[in-house]
């Protein structure tokens, strides 16, 4: 009846996950109870859960990422403490628990923190920057989000029901095959990634189509803000790379569920092919994450330097070059598997070639600052911090692209330090910069600068204190994923790294405090102009938070830095403006399709993991029925009448004109 599921699935013998799970469960129940008692449930259902508004979905993506950042972060804290204490002892985490933690940490941080964070920001901002009312497929957008949330949910369920993979975040066979991982851990891993992978693919298709087909009048390709370009590149990579992940995990699942022989030791299976395929996805994945961050930095550096982006065409070229070359380098993740020297050298050189466009980007940001008038608001601090940190990560990255050097550094703590260097220093700093930069746009008030700056400095220093020792300990020969060790020389560095983790944690706490303080002081921090940073692209042309239809009139773009041009134009024409004819606006109706679909996907995923076949069929039928019901509905749009649009817009224009006149008088 319940497949493999019974009471022994709950780890009563392991207090840490049980207590953690209980605390989280109680917290969730408390929040739910509060929501229900206060009567917020209908509001949440109407305005958020069923929302197909790209801004709302973007915010929910970021919320999911932030919550999962805390989960992945606590895994990181536990790992650092374990490695600091587990010298010549077992530490406080037994191997079967420690191995789950590092696997979960990697999986969560990549798939459920970094991905949703950048997808959320793209969702939130790209339609605004392109001057359009929504993404190409609003309902699918909601489906994509909820499927991502399903994946995250399943990973967390594994904490208390069953176990998570103990194989590392890429679940290399044969360790992840049924004979060496007979538990449900790898199934949790694979199914949650399959489900969230569908969500990611949907988001990718959506954003590619949005950028290519939905730009407002006059928004030519070479007038798009840099963030739109990097969004395009990143989502093209999603569309091209995620199917590879899906196929690879499907093969692993076929091996595990139906006794196929893709990667088994027996009957001619080939483990090396898993490495090959998973990295054919895995390397582009890195650029899927970092390209949007590059876009965010481009926007931020240009805005806060008060200049257009230096070398815009170069940047576009560099972005698209990275997009294509990132598909030609995946072998560098397994130089030490024994391919011949020609293959190793060619892929090594291809990997280095990516450093060229990346280097060009750094220089272009540098020259954007040159001759600027730089305001060091929090987003700009994150950007400068990123530029310094990312160069170091780039250096060590090129270093491990040299095959002979990689023969020593592969899988070492040096490598761990390297990819944290680029992912924290690149993606996470970028996500934070974008969060600080666009928060006023999303919510209509700014974030507290003092707490924001404190968060930056603690995170920045904490990062160095944590990861520089890992570089050193890697040079001392330490390899990754060690639950304990006996080498005395490593110990002091691990203790310093654990201390750095504490500093990083303070940074995260400051980030939370910033949010709390800002929400408390939201009236004082209110932004009535819609353009708090003196921005240059179209998202600042509407007010904050933007109305559901984004723009009363789809803007007419006349050049690069569209909104900057409009502002300059408005000043020149001394605010002469003609009253325009308002029109009705059609917007997509909200739909519970995404939520219901994810509900069935959760059931199906859970049933698949535990081999509860009747429930799998039920979930599948439910998901199909959901889509048929969605396809059957007669009205998928509603109309906002012209008078309503006019009323809302006139208020905005007054605010804006006062802003421009103030700016003009300076």
């Amino acid at each position: 009846m319940l497949g493999k599921l019974d009471w022994s699935a709950i780890p009563f013998d392991q207090p840490i996950p049980l207590v953690a799970g209980a605390v989280v469960l109680v917290a969730i129940l408390c929040v739910l109870a509060w929501v229900v008692v206060k009567g917020h449930l209908p509001y949440l259902w109407r305005e958020w859960i069923t929302s197909v508004d790209h801004k709302r979905i973007g915010v929910m993506y970021i919320l999911l990422a932030s919550v999962m950042l805390l989960r992945g972060g606590s895994d990181a804290v536990m790992m650092r403490i374990q490695q600091a204490v587990a010298y010549q002892s077992q530490g406080y985490l037994p191997p079967e628990h420690y191995n789950q933690i590092f696997s979960a940490h990697g999986t969560i941080m990549i798939f459920f923190v970094a991905m949703p964070f950048v997808i959320g920001l793209m969702n939130l901002i790209v339609p605004l920057q392109l001057g359009v009312r929504d993404v190409a497929f609003p309902t699918l957008n909601s489906v994509g989000f909820w499927l991502t949330a399903t994946g995250a949910l399943l990973v967390n369920v594994s904490l208390v029901v069953g176990e998570f993979a103990r194989t590392g975040w890429l679940a290399f066979p044969p360790l992840s095959e049924l004979s060496y991982s007979p538990g449900v851990g790898v199934d949790y891993y694979a199914w949650s990634l399959q489900i969230s992978g569908v969500g990611t693919l949907v988001a990718g298709i959506n954003l590619v189509t949005t950028v290519l087909k939905l730009r407002t009048r006059g928004m030519n390709y070479l007038r798009m803000p840099m963030f739109c370009w990097t969004t395009l590149a990143s989502n093209l990579l999603i569309v091209a790379a995620f199917p590879i992940l899906t196929a690879t995990l499907a093969m692993l699942l076929l091996d595990r569920y139906l006794g196929f022989h893709f990667f088994t030791n027996e009957a001619g299976g080939n483990v090396m092919m898993f490495m090959n395929l998973i990295w054919a996805w895995g390397h582009p994945e890195v650029y899927i994450l970092v390209l949007p961050a590059f876009g965010i930095f481009s926007e931020v550096v240009s805005t806060f330097s008060g200049k257009a982006l230096f070398g815009y065409r170069s940047m576009v070229l560099a972005t698209m070059a990275i997009c294509v070359i990132s598909f030609m380098v995946w072998l560098h993740h397994f130089f030490t598997m024994g391919a011949g020297p020609d293959v190793n050298a060619i892929f090594g050189i291809a990997s280095m070639i990516i450093a060229v466009p990346t280097g060009v980007k750094i220089y272009n940001w540098l020259f954007t600052m040159y001759g600027g008038r730089i305001r060091f608001a929090t987003p700009m601090l994150w950007s400068v911090g990123f530029m310094v940190t990312f160069i170091i990560g780039g250096l060590t990255g090129v270093l491990v692209a040299v095959p002979p050097a990689d023969f020593m550094l592969h899988n070492s703590m040096f490598l761990v330090a390297h990819f944290h260097n680029v992912i924290i220093g690149g993606v996470l700093f970028g996500a934070f910069a974008g969060f600080e930069y666009w928060f006023p746009k999303a919510f209509g008030f700014r974030l507290d600068e003092r707490w924001g700056k404190a968060a930056f400095w603690f995170t920045f220093l904490g990062f160095y204190v944590t990861f520089m020792p890992l570089y050193i300990v890697g040079m001392l020969g330490m390899t990754r994923r060690m639950q304990h060790y006996d080498v005395a020389a490593w110990r002091p560095w691990m203790i310093i790294a654990a201390f750095g983790m504490a500093v990083l944690t303070i940074g995260v706490i400051c980030q939370i405090m910033q949010l709390v303080v800002s929400i408390r002081d939201r009236e004082a921090l209110r932004d009535r102009t819609g353009d708090p940073w003196d921005g240059r692209s179209l998202e600042w042309a509407t007010w904050s938070p933007p109305p559901v239809f984004n723009f009363a009139f789809n803007p007419d773009v006349r050049g690069e830095d569209a909104y900057w041009e409009m502002k300059a134009h408005a000043r020149q024409q001394s605010f002469a403006h003609e009253e325009r004819e308002y029109e009705d606006i059609e917007m997509p109706r909200n739909s519970p399709t995404g939520f219901v679909c994810a509900f069935f996907a959760t059931i199906m995923g859970f049933a698949l993991i535990w081999h509860i076949w009747w429930m799998v069929i039920l979930g599948g039928i439910g998901a199909f029925a959901t889509f048929v019901v969605f396809a059957w509905r007669d009205h998928d749009e509603y109309v906002i009448p012209a008078e309503e649009v006019a009323r809302i817009d006139r208020v905005n224009i007054e605010e804006r004109r006062s802003l421009v006149s103030m700016a003009g008088s300076v």
Partner: protein
């Protein structure tokens, strides 16, 4: 006027050289939907390419089991191919019928497409069942694993296509040729034709190249 406009425009786009062709604004829904679906199809083809790559790598790993030339039956494959080709044609007829709002020809085209698809699936199913019965199931060797996965993945797509096709017919029956239903019809036609393209690769690479002794 032209002068000022030029000056204005140069000012606006410092990186532009020469004339600028203005983007006309958001595309109509029909184009957006079909284009999005086109992107999805390309990603689906990338997924197939992984199974093709796996097949290429594993096709020699028979582990003492049968080789391709010992189990493939060209006659069946030829019938399957003709079925799919004809169904692509009838699917095209159905989409023309949908465009001219002709219900009869639409139903007929879709029904024939459905029947041809079912014949294809039946032949494929019989082939698989026969192999499993002879002990040559996917667990027998890595070659058979790759073969069953690649061909089975295409078969699953055809099954999903038939489910979609029936849903499509039911929608037209219940709602008529509404704009959104026509958009879906366009996507369905793209999907069905794309499956045909993948089948061309399958029968060439798997069955014909694999039959070589």
């Amino acid at each position: 006027m032209a002068m000022t406009a030029t000056a204005d425009h140069v000012h606006a786009d410092p990186h532009h050289i020469g004339r600028v062709i203005e983007h006309p604004g958001p595309a109509p829904k029909r184009i957006v939907t079909a284009y999005g679906f086109w992107i999805f199809l390309l990603s689906d083809i990338v997924m197939f390419s992984c199974f093709f790559a796996a097949y290429a790598v594993l096709s020699g790993q028979t582990a003492g089991g049968p080789r391709g030339s010992e189990i493939f039956e060209q006659r069946n494959v030829a019938i399957e191919t003709v079925c799919l080709l004809l169904s692509s044609f009838t699917c095209g007829m159905a989409s023309i019928a949908a465009d001219v709002r002709n219900r009869f020809w639409f139903y007929l085209g879709m029904a024939v497409t459905c029947v041809l698809g079912l014949i294809f699936l039946a032949i494929e199913f019989r082939e698989f069942a026969d192999l499993v019965a002879r002990g040559y199931g996917p667990s027998r060797s890595a070659f058979l694993t790759a073969f069953f996965s690649l061909v089975g993945c295409h078969g699953l797509h055809v099954s999903a296509g038939i489910l979609w096709l029936l849903t499509m017919m039911a929608q037209v029956f219940a709602k008529g040729f509404r704009a959104d239903i026509l958009r879906r019809m366009m996507c369905f036609a793209l999907f069905w034709h794309a499956l045909d393209i993948i089948w061309v690769a399958v029968f060439s690479v798997v069955y014909l190249l694999g039959s070589a002794p």
